[in-house]
Symmetry: C2
Subunit: 266 residues, 2 copies
DNA sequence: TACATACGTCTCTTGTAAGAGACAATCGTA
DNA sequence: TACGATTGTCTCTTACAAGAGACGTATGTA
């Protein structure tokens, strides 16, 4: 996990946060931080460790955890003094899914697409300014490139990222992308201008393909899902081996665009 | 929905709440109430209406909703001034599921069971003292008895309820059951003593069947899922037409118990 | 046995967030 | 056009929650 400094960065959504001092913090905010922290760690964690990770006072953390456990948003994990997400969050999440056509149908499309093609398929969305894998279905390859639901990746590293930002003004895009985001895992740096060009291009062609960005072995194909005409709400994407032939890539893109379009009709 | 009075009853989990007065309420609690309220209504709702429903001050409600929307736990629904659950809750919920073997495997078992039998199948758990359908799979009957995930039903109305309470002391059971819970939808009343007898019986036999409780047309078969030996963590259940033959019922119970036991090995 | 860390609970103070209520804007409807 | 109802924002006060820190206990390890 990151050190204390980065704490403020993955705060809740709203981009323009005022930072008066390290004075007292509202309980609700602390609680939201706790959830966000658990989402990042992806496993149960001790309360002390939690307090340290958030640099929140221990006493406050104990109180909050107790309240959240009481409400069912958190649960004490098996061994006794660790906490993780609770059943209530699962129930709320399912309720969200039920009320959200795009998500519900998108999951199905992704599942069938990966079954049909044998490739890893994903449904992606913009979530508080970050690229997020909302649902993914593994594919049948021996070396499958798995990526967990909820994983967040810098926008410039992905084909979907280029589509999700299509239609936004340059200034909004700049605000969303940090210098770190432009640095690929292997050390290469993407130029902001190139990235913005890519976005414009993706917007026109209606799809996007990137090769060897997140890792050296995969290609990423993405197609937009529209909510209202012109507004890209999500993307469907396929993650395939980088040596996939031109022909097959073309076929897959066509299929992908078709399925994504089907989702858009909503 | 209920009137303002019932508000205090479906508070967060902890059973023993002190109620000093209707003085100031903590922000976090208000927020938890909002989530609980949305879970009950199952649809987007206006902020004013929300404030009224919770009898919370309007100004506070606006502030909290803004914060929760910012954090992604809530989203403004399509038309503009209604709120409902947000993407974050879905992501947290999926994370919970991923970290929870019982739930993950339970969902699969339920799905296959309903496919194999053609009957509606459910995975149920005790959630903050209430019987909760955690996952359900429709079954293939023309008149299927559907019941949404997250639905909460009084414990005495169900076969699963009898199993989930097995092993608790009488006093704890009494504390969990209100007079309303003992009143069936058709007006009949279950005697608390009968209910507790049923629980003891279910505990011994290792399954439970109830007929025509929630409605006049269905029978409910349930089998326990153990986390640690002796501790019932969940139940699997089948909802079948009330005129299902003795023989078939027996077969189904056997199958159900087998599957539930398989889940227990965890 | 002593020492250093971590855990969970409690008490007390004070900075601040919850809430009352006023305000302007936007409805519908008579 | 006048009306009542609803919506979203803002200001100001004070009741109260966030936090510092002490305490007792349970670890591990030298």
């Amino acid at each position: 996990m990151q050190d204390g400094e980065t704490l403020t960065e993955w705060q809740a959504g709203s981009s323009d946060e005022e930072r008066p001092a390290n004075s007292r913090e509202k309980g609700l905010n602390r609680a939201l931080h706790i959830l966000e922290f658990l989402h990042a760690t992806q496993r149960a964690i001790g309360i002390g460790e939690l307090a340290k990770g958030l640099n929140a006072p221990r006493s406050t953390t104990y109180t909050l955890v107790r309240e959240l456990v009481g409400a069912g948003l958190l649960e004490m994990a098996g061994d006794g003094n660790r906490v993780y997400f609770g059943k209530k969050l699962y129930l709320y999440g399912m309720a969200y899914m039920r009320g959200n056509d795009l998500l519900r149908r998108g999951r199905q499309e992704v599942d069938t697409l990966s079954r049909e093609t044998g490739e890893t398929s994903e449904l992606c969305m913009l979530q508080s300014g970050r690229y997020t894998i909302v649902h993914s279905s593994p594919g049948t390859r021996p070396f499958r490139i798995s990526s967990a639901t909820g994983l967040q990746i810098p926008l410039p590293w992905t084909a979907s990222g280029r589509l999700l930002l299509a239609g936004l003004e340059r200034s909004r895009i700049e605000a969303m992308i940090s210098q770190d985001d432009l640095m690929l895992p292997d050390g290469r740096k993407i130029e902001l201008d190139d990235f913005i060009d890519d976005i414009a291009k993706a917007r026109v062609t209606g799809y996007c393909v990137t090769s060897g960005l997140v890792d050296a072995y995969t290609k990423c194909l993405a197609a937009p899902v529209f909510s209202t005409p012109g507004k890209i709400e999500a993307t469907m994407c396929l993650v395939v081996p980088i040596d996939t032939s031109e022909d097959r890539t073309g076929e897959l893109v066509a299929l992908l665009r078709d399925r994504a379009a089907r989702l858009s009709i909503s």
